[in-house]
Symmetry: D2
Subunit: 248 residues, 4 copies
């Protein structure tokens, strides 16, 4: 949205941020890259599209509230099934990321175009593949700790800011079939998605977040007594009737 | 609810399950125990009550859907602030627990009054204080793996069931200020909350879940340029206006 | 060793357990499988062999103490660099596994040929790929909780034993570049490595444990003052002389 | 050692660093504080002393190699039993900390007397109790990422350094009964242990690391067939003789 409403952003991203991100990913010929935007029906994320998506990158800022609950819920269900999720910058406050974290996802921030240096904390991690010990972004919006998320499984990057703050800028979470990567850089006021190392991280992250297991659609099945693994005779009283669904 | 509508449950818990749980906890004279039930205004969980509560035990089954979103959200906010949460048995499908886990929380189940043996996996943990290597519940409803929750921080108990299943029956999660304990036993068709070891676990769990830190009300504050820790001069364009709130 | 000294084991594994495991893995034509045994020089694990190994499966029982510290240390260094490690059954007490866990790795046990049922706790995990909800081993040695290891990152399998115990039988740990999988089944008194599902799990596990990132040889480098990222002038006294190594 | 051999350190810590740390802790009248130093028999850490110790703070630098394996092993055993361990600054390379982490524990470093700012990442954590959003140390030795330790359970502090680096400066790990806190500040060339916030953190950390559960001395017991929880008849061959200890 901001590229169409704000001149600064329109100048930096004439084709839109989503297209810049897609162009960077498309350099990797093993990837089949598509885009979806807010104003499309279902924000471009129909059941069929989600079904055919292995990894979803999510950028949002000014219009988090305009994302419908229907679409947010559908995305969450596909993440549970195994679709990788990469949340970018201000997506820390997106419906999808907040529903996955289940915490407030708050942080501190400042927009001063200051310098950011991202240190690699986990040089052996596939998301850091081919990177040096650190990389710098000359102008960026600052995000500072505390970042109110569940403790990540892995921290790939920690940022140093010119103004004196620090931030856990590259974090992964795995839960069952679900793989999530949060990557901090990406403010729309600066040409961050043209930065070659940022593009490299996104390519690495897409490969890391690709599904590895089978799609798992969970449920809450009753196991009837005569289907128990070990011979079993019913004892005592019961609340549920035979064949009944559980309470949800 | 079930104690008033179902004769079996009414006979086992004539004063209600909540009162049985409260009576068990009250044996510990260091605890100040109160109850709250669904039919009270705000289910008995007003802002003032929550503010004065250190640890909340949550049991629910047939009426998860009747808990209002307003109360569920208020409970979640207090959990973020540091109020301990103990989710009991069928509370795996309660609004509050599902919002904290952010996964489907599904499992398999069978109501056959079978035997359950809970093994202590972490004998040094305060929740297992004073317990033997295992304890048994003669009649129980079975819950089986897979239990669709984020990987717990600690697993205190794993259950063995007569019918052949297993289950992670005592799990803890910490996130920032938040402490959660899930404890599997507790089906209303059997007198499980009268079991002395179950009562002991609940007492231990309440002490474990008690707040340790300061109440933390998080926010998303802007740090103005002239308040940066290091001297800073604004560079490049900006999207946000001075003093503006971030987008949520 | 046991296949050559014990008639029972010799009959079950005439070519040795290592060969049976290798034969099972070799069915996957994408894998290049080799074996190494205790009596070889450096137990078959020379620097060159380790350098050329992506994933190491470790089985040991009667002769843990005969593994030299030199080889154990060399294996640990390669694991840090990114070589996957799969520890099998009684390898819970191997030098290599104990050095990676840094805990006592104790458990309870019983050799009664009883039935074991392994439940899949994480159906979406690549190690569980293609498996049903559970699989059974008709005769096995029992291992029981508490299993004294650091809390795993993921629990893939939990075992139910005929004699009444439970055990976390499939566990993963990641640390930086290191990936470890512990898999419980494998007692030498029974033909467990001929079990088709056990063979499938090992194939899945080898793919899971394969290196994903760059080999990372860590060190403890001094960053001289004139090489600091930000301009820096030395202040205050110092203990270390210029160019000095740190104390180890 | 450095206070007696190095004039700079002797001037800052005339009574020794250990005494300065002890004096700071002793302000908390609920604590009973004692010291132990390298040159004492068993470095002052006899079995009786360790048995009577709830929390051990470890500082070491120039003489890590002079700590005997006997004492290091005894300390590790007490940590497994539940004695809290607080590792300070250069203790990242101490025998005790390296044995608990089981990784290389390397980092980058620079001694330039530069400024360090420690951000609180987890404001609700008891170790951060009573602290502001950050605190500063005017002159410090820099430690930089990557810090080669297993991913901490919780990150309490992240440091920003004047020279451009970042570091996870306050980390906790729990494993069964064991509680460990690593705290980065503490170079002997600067009066860091006189800093009031550093003293406050150490007091908080001692309370956090205090044992909560029962002392757990683990073992690897055989459960004889006739003592199984469920009726069991031996089947198939066996390797172990009745009453035998397992192989270690």
């Amino acid at each position: 949205m901001h590229e169409r409403k704000n001149e600064v952003v329109a100048k930096i991203y004439p084709k839109g941020m989503h297209q810049c991100i897609a162009d960077g990913l498309s350099e990797d010929k093993t990837l089949d890259v598509r885009t979806a935007t807010l104003e499309q029906p279902y924000h471009g994320l129909t059941t069929a599209v989600l079904k055919g998506t292995d990894v979803l990158l999510w950028w949002g800022h000014a219009a988090h509230g305009q994302v419908t609950d229907v679409v947010a819920d559908a995305v969450v269900r596909r993440v549970w099934e195994g679709m990788g999720l990469i949340a970018l910058h201000s997506a820390h406050y997106s419906k999808v990321f907040k529903r996955r974290m289940s915490t407030s996802c708050s942080l501190t921030w400042r927009e001063a175009g200051e310098k950011e240096r991202l240190w690699v904390c986990n040089p052996g991690h596939p998301i850091a593949h081919g990177l040096d010990r650190y990389f710098e972004i000359p102008n960026t919006e600052m995000y500072g700790e505390p970042f109110a998320v569940p403790m990540p499984d892995e921290i790939i990057f920690i940022s140093w800011f010119e103004g004196g703050e620090v931030f856990r800028s590259g974090c992964t979470w795995k839960r069952g079939n679900e793989k999530i990567f949060y990557f901090r850089p990406g403010h729309e006021a600066y040409p961050i998605y043209f930065h070659p190392t940022v593009q490299k991280v996104l390519k690495n992250a897409v490969h890391w977040a690709a599904p590895e297991g089978q799609r798992w659609v969970d449920s809450c099945p009753n196991v009837p007594i005569n289907k128990a693994c070990e011979p079993l005779v019913a004892k005592g009283p019961s609340i549920h009737k035979a064949g009944e669904e559980g309470f949800k």
